[in-house]
Amino acid sequence: MRSWAVALILVIAVAGLFISNIKVVSLIKGSHYVKDISGNGNDVNCSACHKHVAEEMAITRALHGPHWDLTCEDCHRYNGTGISFATANSSGTFPGKQAHAAYVPSCLDCHGGKGAWVVNASGVLVHAPPARAFNVTTTVNYRNVTVISSIPNATAHKQFVAYCEKIGDENLACLSCHTNYSINISFSYPDYIYVDIFNWTFTTLTQISSTYKVYNVSYVKNSIFSGKHVFLPLKDINCSKCHENIYLGLINGKHAPIYYDWRWDYNLTAPGYQNGWGFNRYHSLALSTLNTSWVNNTYCDECHYSVTINLTTPTGVVIQKRNPFTAAAKGLVHCAEKVSCYTCHHRNTTYWWLDPYYAFLNATQSSPLDAPYHENLINDTAANYPRFVHGDICMACHEAAYHSGSCKSACHAGNQAVTQYTEP
């Protein structure tokens, strides 16, 4: 018999001996090793089961985004809502009431009202600022937590937040902008508006299309998990994530009259930052700089989050002052204010005083240009047609593409009706 065979027999015999002495084993290894949770911190490691969430939070820390310095329990065992969690510490054991280990927080639990103070991972008391305009909290939901009841009408995204609240998860609205959560949006908007112009006399807008077109925006993130815990720094929140259509409108000159009114195009050598009446142009932009790089949140904010205003003194010095009239300056806006061209460029609207052109758009005053026809058009539009077509009416004239030719080619070729296609 070979030596290896003898060795094998001995090994088998020893193994048999061990096996015969192990009587039974518990069903799950480790099931009787119950962790000691009597320490004063969190003794249950959340990331053991939620590793991917921890990885997303690590990205947040690397980005230095909001919540980068918070622990799991800062949010998920937040004690400012009246929810009582199970605890065990040197003072004793206390059963959970509304929750045992953790709850799914509403963002507004901390960011509603006047905000909240929480102790971060370093033991420092830090402030969670109120989500202005969405922090209106007067009603109570099923969890005994206050929720949104009345968001100011001036706030863009009001309907989005309100809808999410209605379906029971207002966090979805927050996630869509503040995290790396992906979003697909289908915007439905009227196809066109129809303007009657006969014998050089504007009669009325006759129709807003009942036909709705759909514009799809798709933002696909690059996330390792769900993206919900990758909190983006505010500077990295990009309006065009959801409003790609507007972004495209801007860079193609169709969203706002960015390079300008007819006088500009007829005199490209004119001083670029003043109009024909010598006023500074609010949307001032030289043609040579028309590219995608300047279409960023800062540009969007000039209209949609206007808290300051540039004023020109009689001596030509531009000074920046706080704008006391906008909803944004009054704290009634979260990130964007609902505006149209008329918000600033029309008398009797909220900010008309900001606009040196208001007289031009006011039917009660004489106008330097074709009064009163255009005024009629504008006033009729403002009073009788909804905000979402205002910009389209304005852009019918101010859209740069039209101005490369004659105004007549667009509207004044004779007795005709004009169909103005809307932008989404």
Binding site: I28, F85, F94, Y212, A382
Partner: protein, 234 residues
């Protein structure tokens, strides 16, 4: 001498020893040494068979508990017992020596079903929200548990246990957090949403002086679900 001969000689020597030395041997050594069960407490050493459990338990938060504090603690079960000089013998009914135990036997709210050392209430769970039934008291009007994030995990553990003879009630869920066991979880998480928005007309607003409109949300659906496996090591 080759190895074969050496093995053969060894076997012969052992065989002779067995034949020559004792006159007879019992099949198992010690099988006639019966434990005396008439003393107080548990006179059967569970550790003899459950050494692995003992090793875990002595390092655990339950290290001060005896085996019977959990496994002979269910008031609804009659365990076999002996007291006095075998003058008072109670045969086991639902169990003889020990029963499997659910964590909630001792950690439920009002642990009246536990005969030994009721543990602290866990509290903060609500499984009725998920339509499962349990013999234990998870919640009442004060400890309603309606905000707990792990209610679904607990409820599904109960539902599974109700159709299984393994871990009882929600024990599997309790162990996943409170014990040093390996847990593999498959999360099916949404990674995005579809939003449907539409321009709608609201009407003239005297404050703004504008015929107002807004973008109405007509639908919102959570989408792009993704399977992710998490493994908590033991």
């Amino acid at each position: 001498m080759d190895y074969g001969k050496a093995v053969l000689i060894t076997i012969i020597v052992f065989a002779l020893g067995v034949i020559v030395l004792p006159n007879t041997v019992s099949l198992f050594a010690g099988e006639h040494y019966w434990y005396n069960l008439s003393g107080t407490g548990n006179n059967v050493p569970c550790v003899k068979c459950h050494a692995d459990v003992y090793e875990e338990l002595k390092l655990s938060a339950h290290r001060n508990l005896r085996c019977e504090d959990c496994h002979r603690a269910n008031k609804s079960i009659t365990y076999a017992s002996v007291s006095g000089s075998y003058t008072n013998v109670t045969p086991g009914k639902e169990a003889h020596a020990a029963s499997c135990v659910a964590c909630m036997l001792c950690h439920q709210i009002n642990a009246s079903q536990a005969s030994r050392v009721p543990g602290p209430y866990a509290g903060g769970f609500n499984v009725t929200l998920f339509g499962v039934t349990s013999p234990y008291n998870y919640s009442n009007s004060t400890y309603n548990g309606i905000c707990e994030a792990h209610n679904s995990l607990v409820a599904h553990a109960i539902a599974k246990a109700n159709n299984s003879s393994l871990l009882l009630d929600s024990t599997e869920a309790c162990l996943s957090c409170h014990a040093d066991i390996e847990v593999k979880m498959n999360f099916n998480v949404s990674t995005g949403m579809n939003v449907y928005a539409k321009d709608v007309v609201l009407g003239y607003n005297a404050t703004t002086g504008i015929n107002e409109s807004e973008v109405e949300i007509t639908g919102l659906y959570i989408t792009d679900f993704k399977n992710v496996t998490e493994v908590k090591p033991s």
